[in-house]
Each structure stands twice: as structure tokens, then as C-alpha cells.
Amino acid sequence: MKLHEIENIEVELLLEAIFQRYGYDFRGYARASIRRRIKQFMEGSKIATISEMIPRVIHDESLFNEMVREFSITVTEMFRDPAMFLALRENVLPVLKSYPYIKIWHAGCATGEEAYSLTILIKEYGLAERATIFATDFNDHALSLAKTGIYDLNNAKQYSLNYQKAGGNGSFADYYHSRYDAMMMNNELKKKITFANHNLVVDQVFSETHLIFCRNVLIYFNRELQDRVLQLFHESLVHGGFLCLGTKESLMFSRVEDRFKTIDKKNKIFQKID
């Protein structure tokens, strides 16, 4: 048997062990990234083979927690892909404005930057009063950072530029105050967002949602899991509700593809029509 085949077996066994022991289900994740992270984790903790990790992870919960942190990469930024935020402002918010109450679900929010961006947008459009915003992730560590709303001030310039490109009609600096090298988001914004743990693979639907925002999470899943999660989103949306995916994500591999209308092809904004 060749080396790569042996390694594939090791990866499958490790993911199975994690699932049975802790209930975290990574079995439907795209393997190439997972494998890369396993290897990175091994290097960091001086473990020589993937199969050697199995007993370690099964018996050492703290090691497992470290590993989950490595597994759920939380790279994100504010107003990533400004054109999409602009499209949201121009084509989606005017429709949402017709509802007396709006429920927004931001899934896979990581450390929260995007959730704050979205909230700023909602606020500037005058919808903050009637909006309830849930931002979820399955990584508790990332969520606790999101709740503090404290970010690296070094990024402020980039974020401010993105904000302008996203059509921001105020000044980005009005939304935070700085302290040493930290950028602290305003309390008013913080209070508007409910950060909570939710695992897209195993947890339930959010009912009666008007806008679901889930960007750069599906790319980490295989086709079957993408399909399952997109069905979950479909079920969670009200009729006419909107779904916003990452710029390089699509509904192509899902059986719910036909139940959405494409609102903006380039910015991946869809509307539930069926």
C-alpha cells in the first residue's frame, strides 16, 4: 500500500475517533484542508504520525480542545469583499425594510468582524431598531473574542477603506474607540449582536429568518455536507428570505439550488422562492 493511502486511512480513523468520543463531526469536511491542519497540529505538539494522535486525543480532552481550535480556522476581516456589502445595501436592505421585524442569522462568524460590519450596515440603513442579529460559530474561543469586540488597531486603516468601498455613509472611526493598539467596538453595536454557539453539522434550524449570511464556511465542506447545510438554510428562511454566501461559493452542488433565485451572481446573493 502506498504512503498516501495509509495516511488517508489514518485521517479517517482519527476523524471517526473524534466524532465518537466528543461528538464533533468533521467527517464531511473537505479532506485536504483538514489533513493540512492535522499535520500542522502534529508538528506543533511533536507527534510523529497521524495514528499516534488517536489515543492521545481520545484520552486527553485538553489536547483535543487545542486541536479543535486549530481545526476551525477563524481567519476573517471587516467588510471583506466590500462589493458584496454594497450589493446588500442596494438590493437586499430595501426589501427587508418592508418587514416590521427582521431576523438575521450570521453563521460561521468566527471572531465577529463580519458580524460587526453587517450590523454597521443595518444601522446606517435605519433598520437597527427592528433587527435581531444572531451570530453563531462552533468555536467557543472565537466567540468569546467576538463578544469582547476588541481588534487590532493596525487593521483600522484597511477596514476603513473597505468600509468606504462598501458604501458606508459615515466615518468608520465613529464605530470604535482606540486604546493603545486596540480597536474597541462601540457598546451600541455590541449590544445589537447575540453571539452563540451553533454547529452547522449537528444543530437545529433557526426558524423564520429573513437574512442568512454564511461566507467562506461551505468551502471547508465536501459536496454532501454543503448540500445538507444549504438545506438547513433553506428551511430556516422565510419565503422571500435572502442567503448570502462567500464570493467563491455556490448552490451548484445542492438539491435546493432551484428553490432559490439568484439576486446577484457575482456577489452570491440568493433569494428563497420556493
Partner: protein
């Protein structure tokens, strides 16, 4: 030497490598049967510009790789700007926005390591001109899983750092000038070469 029959070629480079790619096109067979995946360190906001530019230089199909798409022979793929590109064992692509690797996203190492697992001894990996160390871990992985590795001769490269870093790993099988890489690919991938297109595009 090349009794191995190859299933895919991965190529990485940064500064100056697009020009080298264009030179390599003239050596490629008209009926290319395998995929070629080319990672170049793009500007994060490049919006399909590289695909467009390369398309004008060859009769072969050039495409931006899409998430979970099947990898087709006869196609030259490049990653979308600001995403890592990975190959899955079922020969589909995955994208990721994981941290930059050696200051780069897309990263050559990330592509090469995943491709090495997917194609093992049926893979050719080539490191071209560039001013970073990206690609050297990738070359190590391709070597480890039995693939064939080539570095552009640093003496000839516009930026020698990248091919030199690959060579320093001790995992490079061949060090060749661009023409040599072209002839080698021609010899392993078939015989009929693509007629060079007349250069009639805005980039010239």
C-alpha cells in the same frame, strides 16, 4: 527515465513567472490530456485578469479553479485571487481562506502538498522564478510521495530565490532552463505542439 505516466502538472512561481508560463505554452501538446495547475502570487484584488491574459496566449482552455469542481484534463487552472487552492483525493478542487503561508495566499506549498497526496507518483511539480521560499515545502512533499520535481535553473531565472530554495531541499529531480522544461513536458505529455497564437492583446 520517464516510464512514469503522469496524470497532472502543478507549477508555482511568483515574480516573472507569468512570462515563463507563456513560453512553456508553446511546448505543450495540442491535445493535452492532463490538467496543469498554475499558482502565481497574485495581487489579492486581481479579478480574473490572469485567466484572461493567459487565455490570450494559448489555444488550451484556461480557467479559474472553482470550489468542489472536478478537475478536467486539457485545462490550465489558476486559483482565484486571495484563496488557497487545494486538490482533493477525488480530484476535485477545494478553496480555503486559511492564513497566508510564507506571506502568500494562494500558496504554492498548499497546492503542491495536497496535489502530492492526490496524484502521488503521477505528478510533476515545477518551481519557476520568484522572490520567496514558497514552493520548497511543496517540492519536499511531491518528492516524498513519489512524484517528479523540477526547478527552473536559478542562473536563468529573473528571480532565483524560489527555484534555489526548492533545490536546497535536496528534493528536486531536475534543474532545467525554461526551454529544457518545455522540451521535457513535450516529451512526457505528447508530441503535437500547440501552434503559438498571434499576440494581439492589450497586455503587450
Amino acid at each position: 527515465m520517464n516510464v512514469q505516466s503522469f496524470k497532472a502538472v502543478v507549477i508555482g512561481g511568483s515574480a516573472g513567472s507569468t512570462e515563463v508560463m507563456v513560453k512553456l505554452f508553446s511546448y505543450l501538446p495540442e491535445r493535452l490530456e492532463l490538467p496543469i495547475i498554475f499558482v502565481n502570487h497574485l495581487h489579492p484584488e486581481d479579478d480574473g485578469g490572469l485567466v484572461e491574459y493567459l487565455s490570450c496566449q494559448t489555444a488550451l482552455r484556461v480557467e479559474e479553479a472553482a470550489d468542489k469542481e472536478h478537475i478536467e484534463g486539457g485545462t490550465i487552472y489558476v486559483p482565484p485571487a486571495d484563496y488557497h487552492l487545494l486538490v482533493e483525493s477525488d480530484l476535485t478542487f477545494s478553496l480555503s481562506i486559511d492564513r497566508k503561508v510564507k506571506y502568500s495566499r494562494p500558496s504554492i506549498d498548499v497546492l503542491f502538498e495536497s496535489a502530492a497526496m492526490a496524484w502521488n507518483d503521477r505528478l510533476i511539480g515545477i518551481v519557476l522564478t520568484g522572490a520567496s521560499h514558497d514552493g520548497s515545502d511543496g517540492v519536499r512533499a511531491i518528492h516524498k510521495y513519489g512524484g517528479l520535481t523540477i526547478a527552473q535553473n536559478p542562473d536563468e531565472a529573473t528571480y532565483p530565490i524560489m527555484p534555489q530554495a526548492a533545490i536546497t531541499t535536496g528534493c528536486v529531480d531536475k534543474i532545467l532552463p525554461v526551454a529544457g522544461i518545455g522540451l521535457f513536458l513535450q516529451a512526457c505529455l505528447g508530441h503535437n505542439t500547440v501552434p503559438e497564437l498571434k499576440k494581439v492583446n492589450a497586455h503587450d
